[in-house]
Symmetry: C2
């Protein structure tokens, strides 16, 4: 008899389930960055023993979401601005690559899907105060889809299973809300244009610029913070 959550049967082990739950808790900010992970306490909270919990923690270490010190324990990672910039530098080139590959391989149907996604975002922006919503969820959708279209499975895992979680953690940690949604929306359209044209070089360039903008915004915030 397997447990059912959200109509999805949990096929995995307890360790897998707890891994997911802790990861979500971390990226949502429920577990404060830098806070210590207490094994007896957490195992009691999830109703499992320390064995599977420790396995889950090791997997979280693989995702770079916790840092383990031997004989001391694990702590939730705390990203400073410098590290966030490092991640943006990496993301910039990786998503540029993904976008270029997507431009080479995307079918007409794929492009349609991209357009549909942008249209959906536009409706959301125009209706309710979608500005917050857009960059928070919609932006991610867009980037996910492009990376998926790249056809490079390892690239997808690297970006979607690791880097995006880390960036989300940073945003929650710093309570930074995404800015410039209107401009981002225009940039997204141009990126899709390039993909439709099969212009890999341009798609690469535009995506890099798109992310470089976000990086620049971040670095600007850092400068302002350090100025005062």
């Amino acid at each position: 008899m397997s447990i059912i959550v959200n109509n999805i049967p949990l096929t995995g082990t307890r360790a897998d389930s707890v891994f997911d739950q802790i990861r979500t808790a971390i990226v949502r900010g429920d577990l404060a960055p830098g806070s210590k992970i207490n094994e007896p306490q957490l195992s009691k909270h999830f109703g499992i023993s320390r064995g599977p919990l420790r396995e889950a923690i090791r997997r979280l270490e693989g995702c770079k979401l916790v840092e383990i010190t031997p004989n001391v324990g694990a702590r939730v990672v705390s990203l400073d601005a410098r590290q966030a910039v490092e991640i943006y530098e990496i993301r910039e080139v990786l998503e540029g690559l993904a976008c270029g590959l997507a431009a080479q391989q995307a079918t007409a149907q794929d492009c349609e899907q991209l357009r549909a996604l942008l249209a959906k975002h536009e409706r959301e922006i125009e209706s309710e105060d979608g500005k917050v919503y857009y960059q928070k969820e919609g932006d991610l959708d867009f980037h996910y889809l492009i990376v998926a279209l790249s056809g490079n499975a390892r690239l997808f895992k690297l970006l979607c299973d690791e880097l995006y979680h880390l960036l989300r953690l940073y945003r929650v940690q710093t309570s930074s809300q995404p800015s410039r949604p209107a401009q981002a929306f225009r940039e997204h359209h141009r990126i899709v244009d390039a993909i439709e044209d099969g212009d890999a070089e341009l798609a690469d360039l535009l995506m890099r610029r798109h992310i470089a903008s976000a990086k620049a915004t971040l670095m600007q915030q850092i400068d302002e913070a350090s100025a005062e």
Copy 2:
């Protein structure tokens, strides 16, 4: 009282030690790609219980060196040519980034170190049949140093703790020996030239080309193999 091996005190836990040993065994080919990891057997071999061993395996999963199927077990990853190309695509842009950053930040002393490394490689090539040696060890040294000079710690970890191990695994798996050492040597020199000039854009470009050449060689081998 801590155990001493090779004059280096083993500060970590048994799980850490076993993690290192298994990782080495995998990338050296001692554990065949695709082979199943038997927990009772391995734990007996290392003289530890299954608990720490399982933690080590979870960490190996984080490095992408093993794949775990719930209730079935872990297997050493087996990379096919397509996956190797995916890794090269990623490596290409990441090392391009690293090289560009290195060009921006390298001091005169850093450049000296790079030159010294190349000189050492040259001696090794000229003396014994260094052609094999060069690309096998020396090439890695060169790339390690450049990535270190980038100043991006996360990039260093990503490349040196993950991707390089995977590529080494692939080389062992396919028994592919590195080719074109002389050309690679020239390319290395030009890359250092660009770094010395602080020309980030050129350094980025040259490093990308350098790795793209290796990628092309790989893809050519794939084509030849599929042609017959």
